[in-house]
Point group: C2
Chain length 397, copies 2
């Protein structure tokens, strides 16, 4: 069997920037045929973020838009909107990260979409769920990090709120959207019917944070303060060694006691602060102090050898660029190079998940703006002269 | 239609701590029937993390294990292992986060599982992919944060490597595992065949980080340094106002120019550093300086009103506990309370994603250790006397 698990699934992708493109890239990586519908100006991510060889193809855009074809439609023109609807009518999945009010104005609300294509799965990725007072507000990743408590976890740990230096909430919501589409595709095989899915970023991330940090506030009344003390320590970080950093995580009793032996502090095995997971959680600050003091005494390489022998979970520290040289990633063929048709030689990562039942075997390069406009319109049944007229009118480009 | 999209899917869950339980909770939340198979001592998360009313039911365990039933099997005993295999033989999905060598020793490698149940989807969540030199090493979330570059993004931003104060890589890999299972369930409807899936945490997170931060190093040779400068700034954080914090994200030109007007600096609209997204990315530090200076001048409430009028994306800042009082989350019914059969009154979050085709309608409370051992064995066809013997022998508990 060739092709990924989503082989044969046709996706119309009306999304931009990160949250939507991550969702549709995931679907494409797993075998779906993804048609990226862009406005005449193109996805803003083409121009954002550092690094570009030609003007509408930033490194970040390339990473988030492989395995897609691009069609440019001006859906403010009647013919452009009609073409989008024609594409949707024969698709399996339609993904949008447009505000719902704008979709409704274009005649693409849930009821209209169901009318157009009863088997369609529509996934609307929104910042805030319908029915709540923030619904319809604009949002980017840091807005969601700020509201969902992600930034707040840093204030507990280091005294000031911070964002994770990644578009993490977009990325996670995009993965959850792809997940939800998979579940709905499975259900459609049984029922024959499509459905509308709402993936709200704020609620998705509030759930993420709450699952981790409600802690004692899971109980009503609370049994103590919210938060997992081990994660909220100022020393929850790669710790300095004599020549760099190391991460060590002695978690269960065997690991903790082997760690105490390895650092030459066997007496701590009977210290009442550290006798079991619960006491080590309660005395997280002291447990970190022991680690900070000990680890500074030797080099990273020395410690890694010692902890490997003791079977204590430990690892070195990779900066972003170190990933390119990591020997394990080399072994598993993580880094690939392609010749992009317009951008030249580029690096990309292979899909990290392996499906024994078969993987997508050919990768499409991230498309130039509108590179497949003619091809996609022709596949949708438009005649050559209709396509030419749409291009002349600017309804397509 | 009642029940979630995965209604009717039977999942055998041989996982502990976070990465596996997040995967299977997601499947359960969406309607699957999840049987959590625990060793006699139980999932260590029952005892970890702050907050507990009874001894084997921490707040974190409760959050990650709703919608599951628990059966205790000692798979080191022949009868216990036989029972696990009997459960797997009639399941749709088997999820493990056990090291592959241990699975193989128990006769649960991919070939044996396929023999046992050709329609089975086995998802093996591992720290490191097979075929690479780190394969089989023990790992916890901070190990993966350290190796995958997550911690490294903080060194670029604030001068020291740090972990995100959440078990973020476990959480994300768990979501990706659930996503992958959904895709494989969809494929199985077409092919009638199961498959084995490998979800390696390290590769999954290295892909996450690389997608965001390869940037100019996407190109070979690189067009510049890796990293998205906007995200790696020391000022990428909720910024101080006169009385608290605010997050503002003027991204496209309309938003940026409206922001300059709103802060009384209209002259910046023609400043060559800030004329378009690309120049604002290149001059990210200066753009942040403008924000830091201006925002300190007024209160959060004042700024939110001003930015709302100007349609500039902005939001306040929620600490973990503020989530409990957030008015939007109140509107959408995000927080629910249940009476847990042994733990009393608890809070939980509703499933953030909404499926128009129907949602799981009843929530199972996180189970006491082995609470459904008898029930699950009986469903698997064990007679009452067989169950009694297994309980007496300690093969089940």
């Amino acid at each position: 069997m060739t092709g990924g698990p989503l082989e044969g699934v046709k996706v119309i992708d009306l999304t931009t920037v990160v949250v939507g493109p991550i969702c549709t890239r995931t679907l494409g990586d797993q075998g779906a045929s993804v048609i990226k519908v862009e406005a005449p100006g193109g996805d803003i991510l083409r121009y954002l973020a550092a690094g570009s060889r030609t003007k509408a193809m930033s490194g970040k855009f390339i990473n988030f838009n492989r395995n897609k074809r691009s069609i440019v439609l001006d859906i403010k023109q009647a013919e452009g909107l009609a073409a989008l609807k024609r594409l949707i009518a024969t698709a399996d999945v339609f993904v949008s990260n447009v505000r719902p009010a704008a979709l409704a104005r274009a005649g693409l609300d849930a009821a209209a979409l169901h009318q157009l294509n009863p088997r369609l799965i529509h996934c609307g990725i929104v910042a805030f769920g319908a029915g709540g007072r923030y619904a319809g507000r604009p949002a980017y990743d840091p807005i969601i990090q700020s509201l969902s408590g992600v930034a707040g976890t840093f204030e507990r740990a280091i005294g000031e709120p911070r964002f994770v230096p990644m578009v993490m909430t977009d990325h996670i919501a995009g993965l959850v959207a792809a997940q939800s589409i998979g579940f709905a595709l499975f259900r459609r095989e049984k029922t024959g019917r499509g459905e509308s899915i709402e993936v709200p970023m704020f609620e998705t991330m509030a759930s993420f944070v709450a699952s981790e940090h409600l802690g004692a506030a899971t109980f009503e009344p609370p049994e103590g303060p919210s938060g997992d003390a081990r994660l909220l320590s100022k020393d929850y970080r790669p710790l300095p060694t004599k020549d760099g950093f190391i991460t060590v995580r002695p978690n269960d009793n065997r690991q903790a006691f082997a760690f105490f032996d390895a650092i030459g502090r066997p007496e701590l095995k009977t210290d009442p602060r550290f006798t079991d997971p619960l006491t080590r959680t309660r005395n997280a600050a002291d447990y970190f102090d022991v680690q900070v003091q000990a680890l500074a005494e030797r080099t990273t390489a020395d410690w890694l050898e010692i902890f490997a022998k003791a079977d204590v979970p430990a690892a070195g520290y990779n900066r972003i660029d170190d990933l390119l040289e990591d020997p394990h990633l080399g072994d598993v063929g993580f880094w690939l190079q392609d010749d992009h048709p317009t951008e030249g030689r580029i690096r990309r990562t292979r899909t990290p998940v392996t499906f024994g039942g078969g993987m997508r075997d050919a990768t499409l390069p991230a498309p130039q703006l509108g590179a497949q406009t003619r091809e996609v319109l022709a596949e949708a049944g438009y005649a050559a002269e209709e396509i030419a007229r749409m291009l002349a009118d600017g309804a397509a480009a």
